[in-house]
Symmetry: D2
Subunit: 92 residues, 4 copies
Amino acid sequence: MANPEVLARLRTTEGHLRGIRRMVEEDAYCIDVIRQIRAVQAALDKISAMILDDHLHSCVITALRGEDPQERERVLKEIVEVFNATNFSQRR
Amino acid sequence: MANPEVLARLRTTEGHLRGIRRMVEEDAYCIDVIRQIRAVQAALDKISAMILDDHLHSCVITALRGEDPQERERVLKEIVEVFNATNFSQRR
Amino acid sequence: MANPEVLARLRTTEGHLRGIRRMVEEDAYCIDVIRQIRAVQAALDKISAMILDDHLHSCVITALRGEDPQERERVLKEIVEVFNATNFSQRR
Amino acid sequence: MANPEVLARLRTTEGHLRGIRRMVEEDAYCIDVIRQIRAVQAALDKISAMILDDHLHSCVITALRGEDPQERERVLKEIVEVFNATNFSQRR
């Protein structure tokens, strides 16, 4: 079932992003807009971490305690993948 | 005046984010949601870079070519600040 | 046992960093130095990902398949922590 | 002339990195190694920011106050480039 805190935070972030669009429409100072975009990205990171936490405590535990070695490998690979995607090395 | 491409991209990103909320409501696979959140963050980065580019070509050029050393210092400081905010060192 | 590829890559990265110091000593162009620093950071990310991969396939599998719920919780918490530390939200 | 603080920090970071290699050789706990690698990456970010600051106060001021529009464009482009390279969008 969908985590209600994740949903609430996603809704708040949508509102924040609409606010940023209005700032741009009203010609706000560039650096202030960039700062607000960073705040949205930070909020999204927090949401990602919450989702990963849920995932580890459900699918990953089930897979690793299960007896299917391919499924185990699959979930571990995905964790390395999301770790990599946040990683610096992916920036180039 | 507001950069129309920045506005268009912000609008697209809002739609993307609403789509992610629906994915969560419909219990999509966690890792897929995390991947989509990354895509939104990447889109926001592209938007930030476009805004910085506009800023460098307007306020920063004006300030650096102007004769007010305090104003020059202020705009340079802000650039280091936004560079830092994207930086790894700020992650801890 | 220490992963030999991790050790080899760490050694290479040390050499790269010494090279960057020499660039600075010889007054290389700032932007070129920043680019080389990024390359080192990317190499370190790759090393981190390799270490995480080893960790998931050893300690994490053992803990999650084991019968100690506190130990399970501990290893999962650490994964969220390293994920967070690479995350944007930690940058502010 | 080479900024002596940048050089001192680079030397410290080399020592830190050698220490991490020894940790790996002595089979330290994976997560502790990852945390130390992050610390090195953060130190490198601080060094990059110091170098960028020097660059803005020398080459960039000179170029933007100068009368060569191509040179001006070149230095601004490089700033957007290093900003982008730290950015999330480059992670994919």
